[in-house]
């Protein structure tokens, strides 16, 4: 759950829109490698990982390291209604609507610097821009009479990307310990268009647009310890200093800090495996908008991933798992599987990663969401597939 999650939940309560399009894609992945290992960005040893975990800036690589990524988010959503016979027994689920959207998004670009002449020993720096949330969502349907005559159409379109400009610095007073501090400025503009067009000209068409802006300043602190040469552990906290929302409602936003911890372990085997696990927690029940309780619940996530070097000099093969507890409702909790490959291309590293996450929920189970059609039984079956490519290179100085 990112900073935006709580804010957008508020919009969900007031906007009368499905949860998914408001939350967007929470927490865009930043590198394909971290995505493939359960979206474990906090323990990602790359310049992009150092933006989330400032204590990792020194371990992102000796010299100048560069990393850029971009990807696509594919969402499919099927809405069904239960069909009953005259005895009140259900005979099945009829498809009510099917929507699909595919949006390209920038993952981010980052650079880190460590261990070159002139820099104090043990100092690492990282800076860059990364995407945090995406709001690509399109929904449309035709409205027909009971005789299948076309009455009109309605459509919803939402767009916008939340990006964060951030920098990190870390220092290692000991070989086995790194400390890091970072800061970021997150901004977002989200546009929403709602349209209803009727064949009958006596019924007025509807065209509503809404634009909202968000700005958040965030600071981060973290430490990384290496208790043995095979184990690296890290923990940190991300605290929003000031957050403001402007749009249909203006006001300050009080969001609780995000605590994260993870470890990386090199077991030492013929596959040259690397195992990563992460946990994050945010007490979203304490979130406030303009002083009012947002009615959210505490959210957390846990992930684990493995990287293997395939025998015979093949590519690096990664897979992972993730669980996210939604701040909105239990039925929106989701599990994800991830996988990916990494290729070494004469000095450049090309990584590809993917995440798949299915979710099914009943509209009535999300209390803060009004239905599209009041009183209609509506089940939502959705899947999200994220594909990401990353290109990185390390330059010795």
């Amino acid at each position: 759950m990112t900073l935006l999650g709580g804010l957008l939940a508020l919009a969900a309560m007031t906007g009368g829109l499905p949860e998914d399009c408001l939350l967007g894609t929470p927490g865009f992945p930043v590198t394909a490698r971290s995505l493939a290992m359960g979206r474990a960005e906090f323990m990602d040893p790359s310049p992009m990982g150092a933006l989330a975990n400032p204590s990792a800036a020194v371990s992102a690589g000796v010299g100048l390291s560069l990393c850029a990524s971009a990807g696509m988010d594919l969402e499919m959503e099927k809405r069904t209604r239960t069909v009953y016979d005259s005895f009140g027994s259900s005979i099945g689920e009829a498809e009510h609507s099917f929507d699909r959207s595919a949006d390209l998004f920038p993952g981010g670009v980052a650079a880190s610097l460590a261990g070159f002449d002139g820099m104090p020993r043990g100092l690492g720096l990282a800076a860059g821009w990364r995407a945090r949330n995406g709001f690509g969502y399109d929904w449309d349907r035709e409205v027909r009479s009971e005789y299948y005559a076309l009455l009109g159409s309605e459509a919803l379109s939402i767009s916008g990307t939340a990006g964060e400009l951030c920098a990190s610095a870390s220092f290692s007073p000991l070989d086995a310990l790194s400390l890091g501090l970072g800061a970021g400025w997150l901004s977002c503009t989200r546009e929403e268009t709602w349209r209803q067009i009727w064949v009958d000209e006596s019924i007025p068409d509807v065209l509503e647009t809404q634009e909202s802006d968000l700005e958040v300043v965030t600071v981060r602190a973290a430490f990384t310890a290496r208790p043995s040469r095979r184990v690296t552990a890290s923990a940190g906290v991300e605290a929003p200093l000031s957050a403001g929302w402007s749009g249909d409602a203006d006001g300050p936003l009080d969001l609780p800090p995000l605590a994260r911890a993870g470890f990386l372990w090199i077991p030492g085997n013929s596959l040259r495996s690397v195992f990563t696990a992460e946990f994050s927690y945010r007490a979203m029940s304490g979130a406030r908008f303009d002083g009012a309780d947002m009615g959210l619940r505490d959210s957390w996530s846990a992930s684990a991933g493995v990287e293997n070097s395939l025998p015979g000099g093949g590519p690096e093969c990664r897979f992972g798992f993730r669980y996210d507890r939604s701040p909105i409702a239990r039925c929106l909790d989701c599990v994800s599987v991830t996988a990916g490959l990494g290729f070494d291309l004469s000095g450049w590293t090309l990584d590809a990663g993917g995440l798949f996450s299915p979710r099914t929920w009943e509209q009535v189970d999300v209390g803060s969401l009004p239905s599209f059609s009041e009183g209609d039984s509506l089940s939502v079956e959705e899947t999200e597939t994220v594909l990401l490519l990353s290109l990185s290179r390390r330059i010795s100085l």
């Binding site: 099927k78 209604r81 239960t82 069909v83 009953y84 016979d85 005259s86 005895f87 009140g88 027994s89 259900s90 005979i91 099945g92 689920e93 009829a94 498809e95 009971e146 005789y147 040469r229 095979r230 090199i266 077991p267 030492g268 085997n269 013929s270 596959l271 040259r272 495996s273 690397v274 195992f275 684990a304 493995v306 293997n308 070097s309 395939l310 025998p311 897979f319 992972g320 798992f321 669980y323 239990r330 039925c331 909790d333 989701c334 599990v335 994800s336 599987v337 798949f356 299915p358 979710r359 099914t360 929920w361 009943e362 189970d365 059609s373 009183g375 209609d376 039984s377 079956e381 899947t383």
Partner: protein, 812 residues
């Protein structure tokens, strides 16, 4: 080079003063004169990521390494041997196979996994110990004890292979669970295992018995009552109370939709003396909790642990073989007196006999309290006491109607009664002067409940509906607040021939008996078993051999005929149906190429109705060359059941052909096809729907990249016309309805000797065509809930479901 650095190099030096490439730090490697810094970095990285070099010549595989560098390293450095693992991939494979075997329940698999990690000391084995293993017969168990008694200890497990009477099949099934280690009661070796499993995904749960079906049944009953479709006047049912109960159950179960399941199971051990463990889990789609620690409320019911069990046990204290406090599992003899499993394994004579700690997913029949096993000379005894909550179907006047094993457990049923169970069993081992493996035993069980059971069908039967209540199995269910039973048992083994049996009597004079004989050698066995269960033998802990569970083919398979559809959970009541029969089973290795893995014939008679039934299944395997096997299985069953006023019979034919290919490198490929047909007795109820059919085509392939890392993929296409299909996937059984496709991918990796991870993704698409829905009569139309005005025409119901499962095992 500083002095401290020199000291560090010395610390990394091996016994001959050479630097150990497997343990040296990066700085130490960079300090070596014969290699460059880049080469040192590469050596360090390779040693770190692979766990070390097995041989110094492996260094040559590193890019950038020169012949002169290698020669220098060979003369000046060394590599230490890598530590051997505690668990081999072969053991991991076996654990996985156990987890998917058809037959044993959770408790057995738990126990076998423990034994794979810490096997039983072979030289102290008695036949009692071996009967807990799968597919180890009484003849095999007695043969091992006889071998040890007559010829003394063995120096290796393989020495058991030639024991008189021990079949190769039996030897193969026990060899992984025993070892030539000594029992060390003073040992303080600390070991254990942690398993974390997350079972999630999304989609609709379809089919009979699914949560969606239960919610649908409840909704239909509620709607029926709201529309005045049921007339309770003159009935003992308080319709207002029943209505409230139904609404409450529906609302509670609606909250269980889409719940992600999770299991955290921790087992600990200290030497051979102490064991302990705890399990906290929440099953998918479940609600109310159960277990020793079920009071641990996590805030809302959907986040309460579904099962919360724990135990501590002490072993080998004088004659006290073991004592367990907490949750335990007890299974004795033929399971007629006491076996507290949650399920009845049809047609299975194998059970993990004895007393075991219980961290399994079972809940309704779980024992919570204390139990002990005593061994003194020829005497073996068990004593136990348990006090645990039990679920019950409730009458609308608030009294408990019948005990039930809730599938979809709601507060309306969960923990409705407190049950106290106590008993004991004693054996006298006659192996000292009669053939080894001979014993006689006797024991008793008493069960009491905190409230009297009132199994009145009028509280369950919808008044004035089409169904005529005709269920003799229900009419004799336990009444009152107590029940007791006792049993006698015995067995003997003569060479390759063994006989065993148990007879039990309940306090209402009803009896149950199971007896069997077995003759075996290396290439053949023949097993014959007879059984009899009186209608009134209702002991809730009877799990004896049977073809059907008590409420198969009764009104409880039809929730829409019950006042409260949740009472349909009684269909899962794991007590044998009142029946008597004879069962013959054989395995015959004709030659190296031809094998009959299992052939059986069961002929049984339903006691309340007198219907006679039979079931035959034969399996033939042909192996023309080692990597190729063909398996043909054919099943024929003729079964009769009471359908309202008329008995109806069904004849089932089912044929399955599987082709298994084992290419090199540990890969596994299988393709299978099944076709089935059910023919029903002509009956006006079925009109022209008298034939049902179904079948599927499946394939799966496992590719092993290394012994510790493999990827498994499988797919199935099926079509059914009234005859649902089932198949075994890599992790369990799956039921197939309608027509559809599915595929799954499983990644398995043994990351280290102590950590294993398994990740699985499944997608299943099921299609249910819904045609001919047009109804001219407005009162008879199909409709959408909440949108009754919209017309419903033909549609195709496409149910997509995804299963995501991740399991992490940590052992030390």
């Amino acid at each position: 080079m500083s002095s401290s650095f020199l000291l560090a190099i010395l610390a990394a030096a091996g016994p001959f003063g050479r630097v150990d490439l497997n343990t040296a730090t990066l700085e130490q490697l960079r300090a070596l004169e014969g290699i460059t810094d880049e080469q040192a970095d590469s050596i360090y990285s390779r040693a770190l990521s692979t766990g070390g070099f097995a041989d110094i010549y492996e260094v040559a595989e590193i890019p950038g390494m020169t012949a002169s560098s290698l020669a220098w390293l060979r003369d000046n450095c060394m590599v230490s041997p890598r530590a051997e693992g505690s668990l081999s991939p072969a053991v991991m494979d076996l654990m996985e196979r156990l987890a998917v075997e058809d037959g044993p329940g959770d408790a057995a698999v738990d126990e076998w996994e423990n034994l794979l990690i810490r096997p039983m000391p072979v030289n102290g084995l008695r036949h009692w110990d071996l009967r807990m293993l799968d597919r180890v017969s009484i003849v095999d168990a007695a043969a091992v004890e006889r071998r040890l008694r007559d010829l003394g200890p063995v120096s290796g497990v393989a020495s058991l292979r030639g024991s008189d009477g021990l079949s190769y099949y039996g030897y193969r099934n026990l060899r992984d669970y025993v070892a030539t280690r000594e029992l060390d009661l003073s040992s303080t070796d600390f070991f254990g295992g942690l398993r974390v499993t997350v079972d999630g995904g999304a989609g609709r749960s379809e089919g009979e018995g699914s949560l969606a079906a239960r919610l649908d049944d409840l909704g239909s009953a509620i709607g029926d009552m709201e529309s005045g479709g049921r007339d309770y006047s003159g009935s003992p049912v308080d319709s207002a109370a029943l209505y409230e109960q139904l609404v409450s159950e529906r609302d509670e179960l609606a909250g269980a939709r889409g719940v992600t399941g999770s299991v955290q199971r921790l087992r600990l051990g200290l030497g051979d003396r102490w064991r302990g463990g705890i399990r906290l889990s929440r099953g998918r789609w479940s609600t109310a909790g159960h277990g020793l620690l079920s009071g641990m409320d996590m805030g809302v019911i959907s986040e309460t642990y579904d099962v919360a069990k724990a135990f501590a046990s002490l072993h080998r204290l004088g004659p006290l073989h073991q004592v367990i406090l907490g949750n335990y599992r007890l299974s004795l003899n033929q399971g007629l007196l006491v076996d507290n499993a949650d399920e009845l394994m049809s047609r299975s004579l194998y059970r993990p006999r004895g007393l075991h700690p219980d961290l399994t997913s079972t809940r309704q029949a779980a024992f919570t309290g204390a139990a002990c096993e005593v061994r003194s000379g020829p005497l073996v005894g068990y004593a136990f006491v348990s006090s645990a909550p039990r679920d019950a179907i409730m009458n609308s006047d608030g009294t408990p109607n019948s005990l039930v094993l809730s599938r979809w457990r709601t507060s309306a049923m969960a923990g409705a009664l407190q049950e106290t169970a106590a008993g004991g069993y004693g054996y006298f081992d006659l192996g000292g002067f009669l053939p080894c493996g001979t014993f006689v035993g006797a024991g008793a069980l008493t069960v009491s409940w905190s409230d009297s059971l009132v199994p009145d069908p009028e509280f369950l039967d919808i008044p004035n509906d089409a169904e005529v209540w005709n269920c003799p199995e229900y009419s004799v269910m336990p009444q009152g607040d107590a029940l007791s039973a006792w049993s006698v048992s015995g067995q003997t083994v003569l060479g390759g021939f063994g006989v065993e049996g148990e007879a039990a009597m309940q306090d209402n004079d009803a009896m149950a008996a199971v007896g069997g004989a077995r003759w075996q050698n290396d290439w053949f066995y023949l097993l014959c078993s007879i059984r009899h269960y009186d209608l009134e033998y209702t002991n809730p802990y009877c799990r004896g051999f049977a073809e059907q569970s008590r409420f198969d083919d009764t009104v409880f398979e039809k929730p829409y005929y019950l006042n409260d559809p949740s009472a349909a959970d009684l269909a899962d009541w794991p007590v044998p149906k009142p029946e008597e029969g004879i069962y013959l089973e054989s395995r015959f290795q004709v030659s190296r190429q031809i094998l009959f893995p299992k052939v059986y014939l069961d002929v049984w008679r339903s006691i309340p109705w007198g219907f006679e039934n039979y079931r035959f299944q034969g399996e033939l395997e042909y192996r023309p060359v080692f990597p190729l096997r063909f398996r043909l299985k054919y099943k024929l069953q003729d079964k009769t059941k009471m359908q309202d006023l008329l008995p109806t019979s069904s004849v089932t034919h089912e044929a399955t052909l599987r082709t298994i290919v084992l290419p090199a490198g540990g890969d596994y490929f299988e393709i299978g096809v099944r076709a089935g047909l059910v023919e029903l007795t002509p009956n006006p109820l079925y009109t022209d729907d008298r034939l049902m059919s179904g079948g599927f085509l499946s394939a799966r392939w496992e590719h092993r990249f290394t012994p510790g890392f493999s990827v498994l993929g499988g797919t199935t296409l099926w079509t059914t016309d009234g005859m649902s299909q089932w198949e075994f996937e890599d992790t369990g059984i799956d039921f197939l309805d309608g027509r559809g496709t599915k595929f799954y991918v499983t990644v398995k990796e043994q990351i280290s000797d102590n950590i294993q991870i398994r990740l699985r993704l499944l997608r299943k698409d099921t299609f249910f065509p819904r045609n001919g829905l047009y109804r001219p009569d407005p009162e008879d139309q199909y409709y959408y809930e909440g949108d009754p005005g919209s017309p419903v025409r033909d549609f195709g119901d496409h149910a997509e479901s995804y299963g995501i499962n991740c399991q992490l095992d940590l052992r030390w």
